[in-house]
Symmetry: C2
Amino acid sequence: MKPQDRKVAEGLLFTDQYHLTSAQLYHRLGLHERRVQFDYFFRRYPNYGDHQAGFCVFAGFEWLYDWMTGARAGEREIELLRAQTSNSGSRLFDDDFLDWLRDEGDFSGITIDAVLEGRVVHPHVPIAVVSGPLAMTQILETPLLNHLNYQTLIATKAARIHAAGRGRPLLEFGLRRAPDRGALAGTRAALIGGADYSSNVGVSHLLGFQPKGTHAHGLVQVFMAMGEGEIGAFRAFAEAYPDDCLLLVDTVDTLGSGVPNAIRVFEELRRKGHRPLGIRLDSGDLAYLAIRSAAMLDAAGFPDVAITLSSGLDELAIWQILTQIEEESPRYGVDPDHLINRLMYGVGTRLVTSGSDNLDGVFKAVAMELDGEWKPLLKVSESPAKTVNPGDKRVWRVYDKRETATADVLTRGSEDISRAPLLELHHPVRKDLRRTLGREDISRVEPLLVATIRDGERAFDPPTIEEMRELRRRDLSHLDPGVKRLVNPHVYHVSLSRELWELKERLVGEAKTNERATQAS
Amino acid sequence: MKPQDRKVAEGLLFTDQYHLTSAQLYHRLGLHERRVQFDYFFRRYPNYGDHQAGFCVFAGFEWLYDWMTGARAGEREIELLRAQTSNSGSRLFDDDFLDWLRDEGDFSGITIDAVLEGRVVHPHVPIAVVSGPLAMTQILETPLLNHLNYQTLIATKAARIHAAGRGRPLLEFGLRRAPDRGALAGTRAALIGGADYSSNVGVSHLLGFQPKGTHAHGLVQVFMAMGEGEIGAFRAFAEAYPDDCLLLVDTVDTLGSGVPNAIRVFEELRRKGHRPLGIRLDSGDLAYLAIRSAAMLDAAGFPDVAITLSSGLDELAIWQILTQIEEESPRYGVDPDHLINRLMYGVGTRLVTSGSDNLDGVFKAVAMELDGEWKPLLKVSESPAKTVNPGDKRVWRVYDKRETATADVLTRGSEDISRAPLLELHHPVRKDLRRTLGREDISRVEPLLVATIRDGERAFDPPTIEEMRELRRRDLSHLDPGVKRLVNPHVYHVSLSRELWELKERLVGEAKTNERATQAS
């Protein structure tokens, strides 16, 4: 795609067709400026087939805001829409609408309260609450979902992989398997969620991180073809990068050639006063090869150089590798803890694609201004879990006496539960499930939503990526270990306050009655 | 991300760190202009967990070429690299290299032979063969993989979903779950692979397709809140779009309210001389609801309006829905074939994410110029399937007497098997597997690679998207039905010619001997 076309495709028209047809309809009826409120939330944690997340890490908001500030319908956009035809052959969009879109189709009327990026989030909790004029709020739906769903998915995966690696350095290597330009967002989300560095050069620099890498198999192949062998490649690399010497040892034969050659070069480096960084294993039985390599490196007097693992890794693969290392190391005279503490991980495909699932985040209308007042909106559904929680709301995180987050609570916008003597918590779907927390069970109640955007303008000081990482670390430290389990985690409680529960019950009843009445009329 | 930053992150630095460090090393050693040849191929079909593809549809090449023509290291890029430090704190990239990168770091030396987009492709077959100067060819590795892997993955998924829907219209609805800006490539690939249209407004227009859509649940919610009910929303939509009236009927109660209301509005449209398009079902038991909706529409005299299904669809979900329709329709007096022939499909998440897997496409060095001659390169591996097929090669598709593609054959670059009296075909990995095809078994032998890029310049007239779709349809029509099966497909044969097989065997032996010699020395 040519750059000038890409600019158009990534601008205001980076949305779904039905939002534009709906916007034109609202414009014709004079409803386009009517204020509405939409919630962004997801319904279930990512499910990776044989395992499922017990928490998510929110990411993507800052890039959504950047998109909103730049998206306008210029002459090229208007021209494309003008050429669009209905099935009758006539124009689909009329001049009135297109003039309005060109002159007033921006996000200056949009206000957003949102959770900060890097924070742990859970299903059914509004993560971003958007209010604004009807037409532009609807046009925003798809780009908002696009920006927030993918980065939250990847940040979550990064947090899981980082945890599986017991906090050892995690390098994001996924650009080659990443979804086209989505790679940039993938790298950013990985850095927020748990990756320490990325191999992706440009975006790393622009986010303030030094890109990291080793060398390619191609380097060894080239030197072999020139008759200088693997050792020739290693020596050339060490010569060029004496203080960054991380050697890929699996091009020919990991234990028979790669590790012995690396050790020879490390010895040469040491004699010259440099500290070799480590080796990388990229194929075969990574646990076994790591143990054997560690034994060889230890014996050669390199007990501290890193062993970087890559190839097909994700949280379960890492977990299995560490389990195998713990079992098998002693047989080769290697201390498993010492080995595990010298490991690093290069994770590509399953980090930037999340391995399997998507985040099912949705954007649902919850309120509309009518006669100067906010009226709660409902979308009932045949599956009760899909019925939205109506109206303007607040979101609170309740911590117990051990400072563990024990529930996220949705209340009506008018409620303040921060000092309530008693909290009655209702399951969002199941009538029979509720519990009561007394003040003596609670250490604090924290509001989660922050006023981020007011009438299209930034209303807060956004955290840096490093601050987002700190928010993530802090939230994870307050999460029950059972909720963080990689497989079959405990279910974190997300509850409705009694007032919100009662409102929802009442509206569901009314909706069914009204619709039957309208239908019968 | 700000537009000026995005431009940098998507330019020449849209690559992996280790390519730049390798390039600097080659530059220092004067090896950077040495000509090399790399193959792009994948090793296995996408595996969706409970099912696996038996073919892929190639896509992404044109956008790769667009990237190559625009990617240069300007002042901003050089400045970022100049600031990068080694572990010793000194600069990682020196001025010599950065000057060279700024002045000569482009793809004008790159030549590519490739399969045309839209064509059916198989594992181990070189889909793009890249030759060029060593340093820039390595820098190209990651962006090439990024562009080709994702689009091929999505085009393949689209072909499968299209087949499951028996060729009925397939609409790509995935922008909201697509990976950030990767959505554009996803839409393009879906259109090449099997989607008829997309809801993604901008990119559809720029690719020459009218974007398509229905209306949102929000529209019905808004009219309900205003006391005008679902029927009010439907009427307003029909009024605005009388010839494009496709109504979403599941906001309240599909059979109790949505379909009856849609029928009333369709009757009103018909009286005004318009032809209603159809309804969309977006939740619940889609097969059952389609049958019941069809019965109601038939009874009301609308046997031809479309029934669009969406929500969680992929090839298996569609297959199950059609099976259920075939079984259950007669019970409601609905002809299953008639119903199936009025269906359309809106597929989002599982199309633009492929549902689960990635394409494991790789870029491997196969030859290098030494003393004016191409020398085949090898990367041996402990898993034989990962040992590359060495040297300059040609790729041929062999059709049998029924015009069914029976094998893709890799030969040495010097071989021409188009008129060979006898073909000896070797399994690429297993020594014991080979077969012989006589001329009497063969209708034709087609070379698959096209000279696409010569020294950075386009050397062919690229197919339009519509022509790519036609290539896909044609290739699929020549594919054995067993290979196209959605679950557990037959394995398509990819073979090596006897000459190539012998070369590979010889080089594997030599590599092991040489490396032992180098290691012992």
